[in-house]
């Protein structure tokens, strides 16, 4: 894998280095039965130490309030740590925030960095100028992004008229336009339908394979982690509960995805690929519950296998919830 992006940063410089990182928030809350508001210190991130090498793809997962977003804010330089140190691509994020902004790409699933009232294409022209790319460089990169993220149908439409799925693809293109060495994605697939999710994931994998980008991703969606990451870091109440290869994480917890298909005509048995198994057959053979490994088998491949045997009239997909996995880790005494 070659590190083509941002050639001036030596490839031995780690993408992320956190050492004893801590962040406290002061919250003023009214004590029950009292008018006076008490100051209370809440520790959102507690002694996180983490090293991510260049080219890695790391899923940073945990329940709400686990400290994921706080960590991302400290990584990108918009929040000052209370204690400990942060280095991103060899830089200190807070004092070097704007410098760092040239070398990283950030997608906040809940916020937009596009210009709302202007055609999507104009946002890229402005961002290209901000990153001091030549018009030609913007054009070439944009061609690739338009093709990979399928933006051509709405490139000339004002951002405010885009659907959520279209806008998110536009956001990802905006974050990748300057070919950053590190891409930070905060809940990139939130609110997206299955097809949009898969399209986005596919492109992120392709782009990473082409350019050796480092991916750092927070998500509630185990599917994102399964399809994009090789390493998973689970945080719980501000500390790291698990850090290791996705392989062993899944192997020990065994967290298959579940597909529920309704068939047009009843059928007692479906021949399935080895990575899938039938959990239950319900409604006299109409509804089949199938568990499968998201790593070894894609949804389209599984559907194709089913489609050769029966006509599918409806389907739904359940991802294992991160919260369940985290709970399992704790049920096993903290580590796995």
């Amino acid at each position: 894998m070659t590190l083509e992006s941002t050639p001036h940063i030596p490839s031995e410089v780690p993408a992320v280095e956190l050492d004893g990182l801590r962040r406290d928030y002061t919250v003023r809350a009214a004590a029950p039965g009292s008018r006076r508001r008490r100051r209370q210190v809440v520790r959102a991130v507690d002694e996180i130490t983490l090293r991510i090498e260049r080219g890695e793809a790391v899923g940073f997962v945990g329940a709400n309030g686990a400290g994921k977003s706080t960590t991302i804010k400290m990584l990108t330089g918009i929040l000052q740590p209370s204690a400990g140190s942060v280095r991103v691509l060899g830089r200190e994020p807070v004092p070097e925030r704007r410098r760092l902004a040239r070398e990283i790409g950030v997608v906040f699933g809940q916020r937009s960095q596009l210009w709302w009232d202007l055609p999507l294409r104009d946002s890229y022209r402005i961002l290209g100028a901000m990153h001091r790319l030549t018009d030609r460089a913007v054009g070439e990169r944009l061609d690739r992004l338009v093709e990979g993220l399928d933006l051509s149908g709405f490139l000339d439409r004002p951002v405010r008229q885009l659907s959520l799925g279209q806008r998110m693809r536009g956001e990802v293109a905006a974050a990748l336009l300057h070919s950053p060495a590190l891409v930070v994605l905060d809940e990139p697939t939130i609110g997206l339908d299955m097809v949009s999710k898969e399209g986005l994931r596919r492109f992120l994998r392709e782009d990473r394979a082409e350019r050796g980008t480092t991916l750092f991703l927070t998500t509630h969606d185990m599917g994102d982690v399964e399809r994009l990451c090789e390493r998973i870091v689970v945080v719980n109440t501000g500390t790291i509960a698990y850090d290791g290869p996705l392989e062993s994480f899944r192997a020990r917890l065994g967290a298959p995805r579940e597909l529920v298909v309704d068939l047009a005509a009843p059928r007692e048995h479906l021949e399935l690929p080895s990575a899938a198994r039938t959990l239950a057959v319900e409604a006299d053979g109409i509804r089949h519950r199938i568990a499968f490994s998201g790593q070894e088998l894609t949804v389209p491949a599984l559907l194709t296998a089913i489609g050769t045997q029966a006509e599918v009239s409806d389907l739904s997909l359940t991802e294992p919830a991160i919260e369940d996995l985290v709970r399992q880790i704790y049920a096993r005494g903290g580590g796995i």
């Binding site: 918009i78 100028a129 901000m130």
Partner: protein
């Protein structure tokens, strides 16, 4: 409009380029152009604004005429024609100066979208200033010029004798927009520390409308109020560009007023920068 953009050279040269301030200009040019285009799409708002500004121009002009007529044809150095010019220029400047304040930045702070602004490789104030200039450029042409044309046709305008007044007037206008931008930015940046800035905005716009010389010329104020007004940046936002543009203040005197405007730009610029710095240090971006 096609703007030239610098290529990022590889290796150490790239670091040198990052330090060159000049390289930022194209990005700001594009941002300003984008803001101009964005505002030009709001056609209904523009038409409504022109209509309102013109109607209020007539109301204000007739009040001023009545006051000057009662005073015997001249009041505080203003003749009828000068008063009309004062009113129409004031109406024209209202939109580009954004005298009623903006709320965008305070909303971005409150909703946490400020994080996106801070993660851009361009400075925050520069980014918003470029947007302001683009916006004001459109508002000047789209909403400022039409009431001025109506005024010229209906009541007539007192035009400056010295061509230098036009040049100084244009410069004064740019400085006025900058002073107003910085003061408004400071009100917005207070959102770092206040849960709600609406009250502050109301107080700010009320004070601004009075002390800037928008409602009545500041020379009509009693001495004590005039002294207060002159100690604030507000006259630099409206009274100064109007006096300079209309030639009521001759160029040699206008130069001094422009220097005062420039002083306010420096002072408020520094203050806004300090607020932004303090604010981002204590920032706890709200929401997810």
């Amino acid at each position: 409009m096609e703007l030239q953009v610098r290529a990022p050279p590889a290796g150490p040269l790239w670091c040198v380029a990052q330090r060159t301030k000049l390289a930022r200009v194209p990005a700001h040019g594009r941002i300003a152009a984008a803001a101009f285009r964005q505002y030009s799409t709001y056609r209904m708002a523009t038409a409504a604004g022109v209509f309102t500004n013109t109607v209020f121009g007539f109301i204000r002009a007739s009040i001023m005429f009545a006051a000057i007529g009662t005073a015997g044809g001249e009041l505080g150095g203003y003749t009828m024609l000068q008063a009309a010019t004062y009113v129409w220029l004031g109406q024209a400047l209202l939109a580009p100066i954004e005298a009623f304040g903006t709320r965008e930045v305070s909303q971005r702070v409150h909703q946490g979208d400020i994080a996106v602004d801070l993660l851009r490789p361009t400075g925050f104030l520069g980014l918003h200033y470029a947007q302001k200039l683009g916006r004001s450029g459109f508002l000047m042409l789209g909403r400022g010029v039409p009431p001025l044309v109506v005024g010229a046709l209906v009541t007539g305008l007192a035009l400056p004798e010295d061509p230098l007044s036009y040049l100084l007037g244009a410069l004064s206008l740019l400085l006025a927009i900058t002073v107003a931008f910085l003061a408004d930015m400071m009100v917005n940046l207070a959102a770092f520390w206040l849960v709600e800035t609406r009250g502050l905005t109301v107080v700010y716009t009320a004070t601004m409308n009075l002390l800037s010389g928008f409602l009545i010329p500041i020379v009509w104020f009693p001495d004590w109020l005039l002294a207060i007004a002159r100690a604030t940046p507000f006259p630099s936002m409206i009274q100064t560009p109007i006096d300079t543009l209309s030639g009521r203040v001759p160029p040699e005197e206008a130069a001094g007023l422009l220097a005062v405007q420039a002083g306010w730009v420096a002072l408020l610029g520094l203050a806004a920068w300090a607020m932004l710095r303090a604010g981002t240090r204590s920032l706890e971006v709200q929401g997810g």
